[in-house]
Subunit: 431 residues, 2 copies
């Protein structure tokens, strides 16, 4: 766990006034990294500060912020080169950015011409995928979620499979369809077969769902053939994003045996545009829940592995007001991101800069804290009230908006992770 | 299926004499693409011709072979930029290379100084991974393999799950550990739990296995949210490699429910260094086996989807002679690579230049045609004779060598795909 330092001082203020509002997701103690562009310009690396973005690509060009000395790392429109520098440089860069934005630092504050280029309103920029996703792995780390799903599809007294309390269960997902918040998601076609059908048919999914997850961004590689410790895994973690693992439950139930989910989860995964750094989250670390069974020693953690991160799902039916349909917390996860990463590398799987680890759906102990419509509607049995409408699964035009924030002496927000469902397409025919 | 043209003329000879030997894997009708380096030099793109490689990076620099006109595609040490050009350019480049190597073409043949740089003995080069693997997906497309595995772990009368005859079942694998032939493979550590054990323990896999597969290399992308037809899928296919999907059966059996194989198959996947093009394989295309159940129309193919490709597995125990332990054929695959790719994109999964699709273990109808030790030894029950030794699973120091070739009026060989097992490492401990 990173040390607390002046970047965590709750009394610190920024000369960017909007960052000092108590309800801002992006105070000077946060400084999440992202990639933005203006109009038709090329993507540039930035941090969020209040309602503005600070253009790090520009500051590096000027020599004001040079995390890699004479080399450039902010010029490719993706955070991967910066992440490759490693945790000491991440911490140093964060300290440098905080100093530049500190209320007492005149360098940018008093230079209107410099500020005009370096600082842009978030309302005027387009956010991009903040890093090139090397590999996307999705875990299944919430005991409540695994228990709910197991209860629905097997039986409540046999809900958790025998391996679940020993292994951070996960599977490889599809990196090519990880997209940034705001990207529309097309309802997938797939093979569908009801329990009474003789054979499957082709059609659009009728059980389209979201999954509220936390995404961990791996910023350092590991070597093929070489396991890592949880302490090493913790050091490899650059930061976290909100993640929506869109899922087609009816396609999934027909395809997933014996090799796991495939097309039912490959049509889109949405992440929030801001990577909130491990450093910024240091004051909000909490231990994982009490172990039901003792873990093997390679999964032991010397420092608290979880994050006390409040999470919320809003559903906005086409043309209506958004309604909050679930509230939960990332602290419920049974396995931390460092445990997931350690297990991932155990057999010798090489980890890469830019790997993304989804936590799996985060559900809590209460019915309102379930992180998917599958659970909220109990597979369609109990329609969910959304204002004056109801939903069992998602309809075309529905938007799902995830939010997350840590609340203490200040607020570390994740911004939003949003996507809207487009109607299914037809199968193409050959010319 | 590509048209047959002068590049398929069985009477054609090359001025590279070794290419005209009847047993050469690499006659002028083949011309598989790869990436090589000399000594400490940088990786360069090439084709195999007889026992030589032809340096395409050099020929592009000279302006002798320019598939992208004034742009360069052979300068990055990987085939991805060339693949991105699309099938018309692939075919044109292949024709151009065949002309350069034709016995009647003097340009290189009669220029000893040029040849000295352009042509290098395969014995003097190191081969590299021929392309950057964007995503690695592993299918399960052999009915015989799926039936064998189902018979072992469920029951012979219930061997195939209900979805298998309708869906080309597959799962996302791990791209970061796809390595080129000749790379050593370290025996993985993992969680192991015998049926009688109360709890799992950590240890090296005792059931380390190979899987004989055909790898299809996707050379063209598809858009997110957009399904493709089998005809489009066929056009997107650049070529094929041999593939060994190393598997730890004891880790797999404990981890794989409910989300599929993970660490048990993530520690290494070996491919042969030469991508044999779809064009070169055109004369050897054969239909997939008769359908047991009618497929949904989106999987229908207008042209023969399979390849009549003979396959062989040699096992070389440490210090001993190699022994052939399995012989089979890629024509047994129930689902073609184009069907696999079409199904992959069905839900809207974006495909990328450099995606690699493993066929799944290729087993045939006979006991000798089984493509894994799991099947050959029937999960350890029937030890396999390897010269004067026996094997149930792989031991440290064992090498596995895959070979493949099409045989007709000439031979289109795939070369070899080889890997050697290193002993397991220990878990690291924190400093």
């Amino acid at each position: 766990m990173p040390d607390l330092d002046e970047t965590h001082d709750p009394g610190r203020k920024s000369w960017v006034a909007s960052a000092n509002a108590a309800d801002s997701d992006f105070p000077i103690q946060n400084l999440p990294f992202g990639v933005f562009s203006r109009d038709t310009g090329t993507p540039r690396v930035c941090v969020a500060i209040g309602d503005q973005v600070l253009d790090l690509t520009f500051l590096e060009e000027l020599g004001i912020l040079t995390p890699a000395g004479s080399d450039r790392v902010f010029h490719t429109g993706t955070l991967n080169p910066f992440m490759a520098l490693g945790p000491e440089k991440w911490t140093a860069a964060r300290r440098g950015i905080a100093r530049l934005l500190d209320a007492d630092t005149p360098l940018l504050r008093d230079d209107a011409r410099l500020c005009e280029v370096a600082l842009v309103s978030q309302a005027d920029v387009r956010m991009h995928l903040p890093f090139t996703v090397a590999g996307y792995t999705d875990f299944y780390a919430s005991r409540e979620h695994a228990t709910n799903v197991g209860s629905m599809f097997r039986a409540p007294d046999n809900a958790l499979l025998p391996n679940w309390l020993h292994i951070p269960i996960g599977y490889n997902g599809r990196a090519s369809t990880v997209v940034v918040s705001g990207t529309d998601i097309r309802r997938p076609l797939g093979q569908l077969k009801g329990p009474q059908d003789d054979a499957p048919h082709l059609g659009p999914s009728a059980k389209l769902d979201f999954e509220l997850e936390l995404g961990a961004v791996v910023g350092q590689p590991s070597a093929m053939g070489q396991p890592i410790t949880t302490a090493q895994a913790e050091q490899m973690m650059f930061g976290y994003v909100l993640l929506n693992d869109w899922s087609a439950r009816d396609i999934q139930v027909w395809e997933y045996q014996p090799l796991g989910p495939f097309g039912s989860k490959a049509f889109g995964t949405t992440i929030s545009p801001w990577i909130v750094t491990r450093d910024a989250l240091a004051p909000f670390r909490v231990p994982t829940p009490e172990r039901v069974k003792q873990l093997l020693p390679y999964l032991d953690e010397a420092t608290p592995g979880n994050i006390d991160l409040q999470l919320e799902v809003d559903l906005r039916p086409d043309g209506a007001e958004p309604v909050t349909i679930a509230q939960t917390n990332a602290k419920y996860l049974y396995y931390s991101a460092a445990q997931q990463l350690t297990h991932h590398a155990l057999t010798g799987c090489a980890m890469q800069v830019g790997d993304l680890l989804g936590s799996g759906t985060i559900s809590g102990p209460d019915p309102e804290s379930r992180g998917s419509l599958l659970e909220l509607s109990w597979n369609g049995r109990d329609p969910v009230r959304v204002g004056d409408r109801t939903r069992t699964f998602l309809q075309d035009g529905d938007s799902v908006i995830l939010r997350g924030w840590c609340e203490g002496e200040y607020r570390i927000g994740f911004g939003t992770c949003e996507g809207t469902i487009l109607p299914a397409t037809r199968m193409p025919s050959d010319p």
